[in-house]
């Protein structure tokens, strides 16, 4: 049984095909990257997997079960959690309250029924992920990098099995990027499988086991980072077609 599989996933918006019969698989414990030029359909894939959009056809299989048709909260509760390309913190709540919200998800409540570990877990995750010590300050006081970390921290509270990270490194400084890469590695070593969309290819290549390349909603390449960077289709997608440029 495949751990996670996307099979013939298709989504169009009017005449525009955003995701075109996309297929790929994930093994437990992997870090898999999804890359592609702007508008390739990467975030749409995340929206389809996480239930924020429903596909026109195709399947998303999680441990053999087709999860297409489930709502976003149901998908989060079976262990697939996501972050967003544009950070979505609760700006008028404190850092503590931002993390506390995730403690009211069904998955968390089921796992921790009867114990009183919510606060301990919040403190542990906040410390582990490097959030400011003062958890009582408003999220609106945090910088872009800290907000992104807060977004990830909130999702980690739900203890996901598969984590979908949508451009987690965008807008981060070099130091923050290095820290977050270390954190992603650590989360992965702790047993969480990770699917990650990222534009910073150099950084992604350092942590990903496998890369899926998408262009115009179609998969154009898949393989290890080494294989993907040497793929002609990928080069064409990112740099354009040499012959076509010469002709124009």
């Amino acid at each position: 049984m495949t751990y996670f599989e996307v099979a013939n996933l298709h989504k169009s918006f009017g005449g525009l095909i955003a995701v075109n019969d996309l297929c790929f698989k994930l093994a437990k414990g992997q870090i898999v990257g999804i890359i592609g030029p702007n508008g390739a359909g990467k975030t749409t894939v995340f929206n389809l997997i996480s239930g924020f959009l429903q596909p026109d056809r195709g399947d998303v299989l999680w441990k053999g079960e087709n999860i297409v048709g489930k709502k976003p909260d149901q998908i989060a509760n079976i262990g697939i959690s996501r972050t967003f390309q544009i950070v979505k913190p609760f700006r008028d709540l404190t850092i503590y309250e931002n993390l506390k919200v995730a403690c009211y998800g069904k998955r968390f409540l089921k796992k921790h029924r009867g114990d009183d570990r919510a606060d301990d877990l919040i403190l542990k995750v906040a410390k582990q992920i490097g959030l400011p010590k003062d958890l009582n300050q408003l999220a609106s006081n945090l910088g872009q990098g800290e907000l992104r970390i807060l977004d990830i921290a909130r999702i980690l509270i739900t203890e996901p099995e598969l984590l979908l990270l949508d451009e987690p490194l965008s807008g981060l400084s070099q130091i923050e990027t290095t820290m977050l890469l270390e954190l992603i590695r650590k989360i992965n070593q702790d047993g969480t499988t990770i699917l990650i969309i990222e534009h910073k290819l150099k950084e992604l290549m350092r942590i990903a086991n496998n890369i899926v390349v998408i262009d115009f909603g179609c998969k154009i390449a898949e393989g290890t980072p080494g294989e993907v960077v040497n793929n002609d289709e990928v080069k064409k997608a990112y740099l354009g077609d040499k012959k076509r440029h010469a002709a124009t």
Partner: protein
């Protein structure tokens, strides 16, 4: 004692004083007029706080809250006059009826946002209002239904009955919004996608809160009908919905305490301005404009500047 609990002491003392004052009014005066003014204050507190628990926290403007006032009023008249049931049965019946009504309206409207949601709430209240005219053989048409018996055998009994009901509803709404659901409502207001991604069924929370808002207002609507001994289409008019909304905004939405204070200020002001009947509406609306401009968080936001003790900090943070 934790610092958080220490901060709450001034607020608790304030409310103990306010409720002590309310409970002691009949000891000083048994004048029907004064008691009925305060009874109206208590009923409007129920209307405004029940509006606030949903609309104030999620910032979805409910312009049709009077629907619950009228629905509960007519149910009260029906159960009291036709079947002679006691208030102890009618009040829970109204709460359940309006709660279910709120749940269905919530399910139908909550997928819409902003002006579309507001328009739908107006439409539902308007349909209900027009129905009272169309089905006049059941509802008494424009004249409504008179002859509802009083809550108790005395005015003072009625006063305490309504005061205690208001106090219980106020405490319930305060506890509801200061706990898990208040936090989730604020989170849904700020970013519903992130709430969903955390594994929380936001539709359920919104619908449940809308039902609670309806149920609480249903109790208020029933008490309103009992206190007037009459129910009519005016209880469902747009003016009623707008009055509730203004009270909540003037007090400070998303706080529960704000609409509590707003109801006291505006209902008493309304009575005081009866002396200058011609200018009443002018003064009333000018005050609303001033508050909206200079205290956009409502009276409760304004009180922070006046009160060095930050009296309401632990209650109204937004």
């Amino acid at each position: 004692m934790s610092p958080e609990n220490k901060k709450k002491i001034p607020s608790v003392v304030f409310f103990l004083l306010v409720f002590t004052f309310f409970f002691s009014i009949p000891l000083f005066t048994q004048n029907f007029y004064y008691l009925s003014v305060f009874t109206t204050v208590f009923i409007y507190i129920i209307f405004a706080t029940s509006w606030d628990v949903f609309a104030g926290y999620i910032h979805l403007m409910n312009f049709g809250h009077a629907l619950f006032v009228g629905a509960a009023g007519y149910l009260t008249a029906f159960l009291n006059i036709k079947y002679g049931l006691s208030p102890f049965i009618i009040l829970p019946a109204c709460a359940i009826f309006c709660g279910i009504l709120g749940m269905f309206i919530g399910l139908a409207t909550l997928r819409h946002k902003g002006p579309y949601f507001a328009m739908l709430t107006i439409a539902f209240a308007h349909v209900a209002h027009e129905s009272t005219i169309i089905f006049s053989s059941y509802t008494g048409g424009e004249e409504g239904i008179a002859g509802i018996r009083t809550l108790t055998s005395s005015w003072i009994g009625d006063y305490y009955f309504i005061l205690i009901s208001m106090a219980l509803i106020f405490c319930f709404l305060l506890l509801y919004t200061r706990g898990r659901y208040g936090l989730l409502l604020k989170a849904i207001d700020q970013n519903e996608d992130a709430v969903l991604a955390s594994g929380i069924n936001s539709t359920f929370i919104k619908t449940m809160t809308y039902a609670i808002s309806g149920a609480a207002c249903g109790i208020g609507g029933s008490l309103f009908a009992f206190s007037l001994m009459h129910v009519g289409p005016t209880s469902m008019e747009q003016v009623m919905s707008t009055t509730i909304l203004i009270i909540a905004i003037v007090g400070g939405i998303g706080t529960i305490v704000g609409p509590f204070i707003g109801a006291i200020i505006l209902t008493l002001l309304n009575e005081v301005l009866r002396e200058v009947a011609d200018y009443r509406l002018l003064i009333y609306t000018t005050l609303v404009v001033i508050i909206v401009f200079y205290a956009p968080k409502g009276a409760i936001g304004f009180s922070r500047y006046l009160n060095p003790m930050c009296l309401f900090d632990s209650f109204g943070r937004k």
